[in-house]
């Protein structure tokens, strides 16, 4: 159930903010339509199939004011950036592109568009660029983003362009109040192009806001995209994201998600393998300790023949943490020869922790190769004894095994220079962080 008044509060904030959001009459109409649809349907709640594990009361705690315009200095941000050997940088502060902190000019084949500017200068172009969200429950937070659409970024890679260095898209959250900031991200990768995109969510200051991101990704034929997504929010911060991805024939999409911070993360990914032999690999690792919540929903639709999904998600819950992995793979009648493999492995470290794993396969055609499996358990007693028999105390043995559970995923990260940073971030997110640091 939506808490009473959430939608009313959203509508009231919209009435107050609408005149300042930009884009003229066309965008005023567009936002009003999205708001009307949202008001009519409400935010998703427990009764919606894919939303039953989320603590909706937590979402209702936010007051849906826009975050005040914050100024972030490079000195604050730079120490927080990932140690990529060399990269282009695109920085969104509370959903707005910050040109001063960004650094992407003069990169052949790369185009970066400020959606805020585009709304002012070319409202029709912005209308065409940004997807109109649907009304089903999984798209309602995207509707919310659309109703307040005012900022964000589009990243385009020209057909055939092979970007040599990664593009880092940094989402900075700053607001110290329970505000909500909206962001739009559009990533378009042309046919035959290559892109490594590192998305990094960080918090500066005493942040307590909810970030609501609506993202779109379109990958052209034979293109190759590596997408690393690192959520490293502060303990009070929250994030909801709705990604829609379309993959054309023969392309490769390799996503690595590390969900390590924030009090609430709800991540939706709807990915469509449209073209023949399009392939995606989805790797994920989440950690929910203290009273944190991580709720990951993925939906992969195989449309093209011989399309491939390899999904491997791991989750850890400790304390009173709650995690959910809900993954649906649908193989449509057109997807002959599809190959789908879905794994979910989860580790419970305390009696009050909870993980709901729900792998689902829906197959509408013969001649496909599909496997899935989910396990949720505690640490292995035989391994624990082995470590203790080597003199490690039980807490250290548990810490080492917990870290090992994550290490597998870190070892697969596509950018070797980020592995040490990821290792240290993961170690820092685990319950026995001091013990693990001592052991490494």
């Amino acid at each position: 159930m939506n808490a009473p008044g959430t939608i009313e509060r959203i509508a009231a904030r919209h009435a107050g903010l609408a005149p300042s959001l930009g884009g003229g009459a066309a965008w005023a109409r567009r936002r009003a339509r999205s708001l009307d649809a949202l008001v009519a349907r409400g935010l998703p709640d427990r009764r919606d199939e894919n939303w039953k594990y989320l603590d909706h009361a937590r979402v209702a705690e936010y007051h849906f004011d826009a975050a005040p315009q914050a100024v972030v200095g490079p000195d604050e941000l730079l120490p927080r950036l990932l140690p990529t050997a060399e990269s282009r940088r695109v920085v969104l502060v509370d959903g707005r592109l910050d040109a001063r902190l960004s650094d992407f000019a003069g990169t052949g084949g790369l185009e970066v568009l400020d959606i805020g500017q585009l709304l002012e200068q070319d409202p029709d172009g912005a209308l065409a660029l940004l997807r109109v969200p649907g009304e089903d429950a999984d798209d309602r937070f995207a509707l919310l983003a659309d109703a307040f659409a005012a900022s964000g970024v589009a990243i385009r890679v020209a057909p055939g362009a092979a970007l040599r260095v990664p593009v880092c898209l940094v989402h900075v959250s700053t607001a110290a109040t329970a505000a909500v900031h909206q962001a739009r991200v559009v990533v378009e990768v042309g046919a035959g192009a290559k892109l490594t995109l590192v998305e990094h969510f960080v918090t500066l200051g005493a942040e307590a806001a909810l970030g609501n991101l609506a993202g779109e990704l379109a990958i052209g034929e034979q293109a190759e995209v590596v997408h690393l997504r690192l959520h490293e929010h502060a303990p009070a911060a929250a994030q909801v994201e709705t990604w829609v991805a379309r993959l054309a024939a023969g392309c490769r999409y390799d996503q690595h998600l590390l969900a390590l911070g924030g009090r609430l993360l709800r991540s939706n990914l709807r990915l469509s393998l449209d073209g023949r032999a399009a392939a995606c690999r989805l790797a994920g690792l989440f950690m929910a300790d203290a009273d944190r919540q991580v709720d990951l929903y993925t939906q992969v639709a195989h449309h093209g023949a011989a399309t491939v999904t390899k999904q491997d998600y791991r989750g850890i819950a400790a304390g009173r943490g709650r995690g959910a992995f809900n993954g649906l793979i649908v193989v449509h009648p057109t997807a002959r020869g599809a190959d789908a493999d879905q794994r979910s492995r989860n580790l419970l470290l305390s009696p009050l922790a909870e993980i709901n794993a729900r792998p689902q396969l829906e197959i509408h055609v013969d001649e496909v190769k599909c496997r899935h499996g989910a396990t949720t358990g505690t640490l292995d007693e035989v391994q624990l004894f082995y470590l203790r028999s080597r003199g490690l105390d039980p807490a250290a043995a548990r810490a080492l095994l917990t870290f090992a559970f994550c290490q597998d995923m870190i070892g697969r990260l596509p950018l070797p220079e980020l592995r040490a940073a990821a290792e240290s971030l993961v170690a820092g997110a685990l319950p026995d962080r001091e013990l693990i640091r001592g052991l490494l």
């Binding site: 035989v382 004894f385 082995y386 203790r388 028999s389 003199g391 490690l392 105390d393 095994l401 870290f403």
Partner: protein, 258 residues
């Protein structure tokens, strides 16, 4: 080798149950400093239960009897304390731990023991030098250090890794549970060299084995035959040779009629 060495391990009339089954049924054994004991026996005689109970493996119930290690009640100590006090078990089936770097475990283990003895932890440089010298002795490839513990190791590599750990930790009492099983001739000789290198007047070694071939390389002072959960006969090296020649049946028959 002397019987006058201090008592390292004294097991008295030990009865141990695993689930409903009584596995050890009145086992007694005394191991003194400087000695190498071989415990031999047919499958199912309780060999692995004995080493498991002594090292603190969960899943056993001690019904009666005692095990005293360096004057302390061994069975009351948690496994990590046994290890820190110098007891080492080389596993029959070394456990694979993907994601735990072999070198992390070696370092954590060595430092846990040093800390317990009140010695400073080794810094990274000292530690690596020490490990490298042991690796060379064991004819092990350095690449094994940076793999997951036993992950994807061959049978021989796993056993060598156990001996590597042992030679690094320098235990007072080493229990080797069928360390010879599944080894080719070269690996067997190298494992035996590792064990022989540990022989010292202030340590003791207990080899648990089904076959006597390891004893060609590591010559024991005492040989015991374990059957039906107790030691049915003891002797010297010649007993192992006789077992190798005649099998276990005659011993079991003698024990049954005794």
């Amino acid at each position: 080798m002397s019987d006058s060495g201090r008592m390292i391990l004294e097991v008295r009339d030990l009865r141990v149950r695993a689930g409903e089954r009584l596995i050890l049924d009145g086992l007694s054994l005394a191991v003194r400093a400087g000695e190498v004991h071989a415990i031999m026996g047919p499958n199912g005689s309780g060999k692995s239960t004995l080493t498991g109970v002594l090292a603190g493996r969960p899943g056993y119930e001690v019904v009666s009897g005692s095990a005293t290690y360096l004057g302390r009640d061994l069975l009351a100590m948690p496994p990590e304390e046994r290890a820190r006090e110098g007891l080492f078990l080389a596993f029959q089936y070394p456990v694979e731990i993907p994601g735990v770097n072999n070198v992390y475990l070696l370092k954590a283990s060595l430092n846990a023991l040093r800390k317990h003895r009140g010695e400073p932890e080794l810094d990274a440089f000292e530690f690596l030098n020490l490990v490298r010298s042991r690796l060379t002795e064991m004819h092990m490839d350095e690449s094994l250090l940076n793999r997951g513990v036993n992950e994807g190791f061959s049978g021989g590599e796993k056993k060598r890794n156990e001996i590597l750990q042992m030679s690094l930790l320098q235990p007072t009492l080493a229990l080797l549970d069928e360390t010879d099983s599944g080894l080719d001739v070269d690996a067997l000789r190298e494992v035996a060299e590792g064990v022989n290198a540990l022989r010292a007047p202030d340590r003791a070694i207990v080899l648990v084995t089904h076959y006597q071939r390891l004893l060609d390389h590591v010559v024991p002072d005492h040989v015991h035959v374990l059957a039906g959960g107790r030691i049915v006969t003891s002797g010297g090296r010649e007993l192992a040779l006789e077992l190798d020649r005649r099998g276990y049946d005659w011993i079991l028959e003698e024990a049954a009629t005794a």
